[in-house]
């Protein structure tokens, strides 16, 4: 299938964002899973202790942020495939964007918002 990939808006940016975030999710996800494996059934104190190191908070936040970017691209594709009326699709796109942005900010608040 011949498709022009020259010029702007060829979709490469979206493709890169999806693949790059996917790789981050895979590697950081493995790391986080290993950390969780060290204490699979924690009590409250042990659980809180897991989140004390800044490195841990950063990795977890980066994971959620990558997840939101990854989901942003994915849901855009889903909406493009199934929601044909343009106005409705753009509204849903906006809602999705706001939801994912909120999730990213909320995660930062959870991790750094004064729990110590």
């Amino acid at each position: 299938m011949k498709r022009a990939v020259t010029g702007s808006h060829s979709g490469t940016g979206w493709w890169l964002m999806q693949r790059f975030s996917a790789v981050v999710l895979l590697f950081a996800g493995l790391l986080l899973w290993f950390v969780w494996l060290t204490e699979p059934a924690p009590d409250y104190a042990t659980w809180r202790a897991l989140f004390r190191p800044q490195a841990m908070r950063l990795v977890l936040w980066l994971w959620v942020a990558s997840l939101c970017l990854h989901a942003w691209v994915g849901l855009r594709d889903v909406l493009m495939d199934y929601v044909k009326p343009i106005a409705l699709r753009l509204v849903l796109d906006l809602l999705v964007t706001l939801m994912l942005l909120a999730a990213t900010l909320w995660t930062a608040a959870i991790l750094w918002g004064g729990h110590g």
Partner: protein, 128 residues
Amino acid sequence: MDKPSRARPVSLPLLRLSLPLPAWVSLLHRLSGVLLVCFLPPALLALEKSLRGPEAFAEVVRQFDQPAARLALLVAVWALAHHALAGIRHLFLDLHLGVSLAAARRSALAVLLFGAAVAAVTAWRLFA
């Protein structure tokens, strides 16, 4: 033969759908992705609650013990496993590895089987 003047109803014979294996992997890749997005807000809520204090933590543990919560957790774990495995397969295809029909069908089967295995182990851990 005359076309009927009324449009005939369309029905999707779900139980008689016959798709190649890679098509199923692709369908489930999309479905699991959407499911995972739906699980994100409750997951963040649980995280926030679990860090609030020892009583809140105990309540989260109690809530996860409910059968409905365990079922949701099982679905979430399967969704994550399948989506990640199908995604890895996709990345290999991006690199033009395993693009022959035979190889694609083999990797599709592997993804489905590994995902099912993860779900089986998780179900055993959650419900046994």
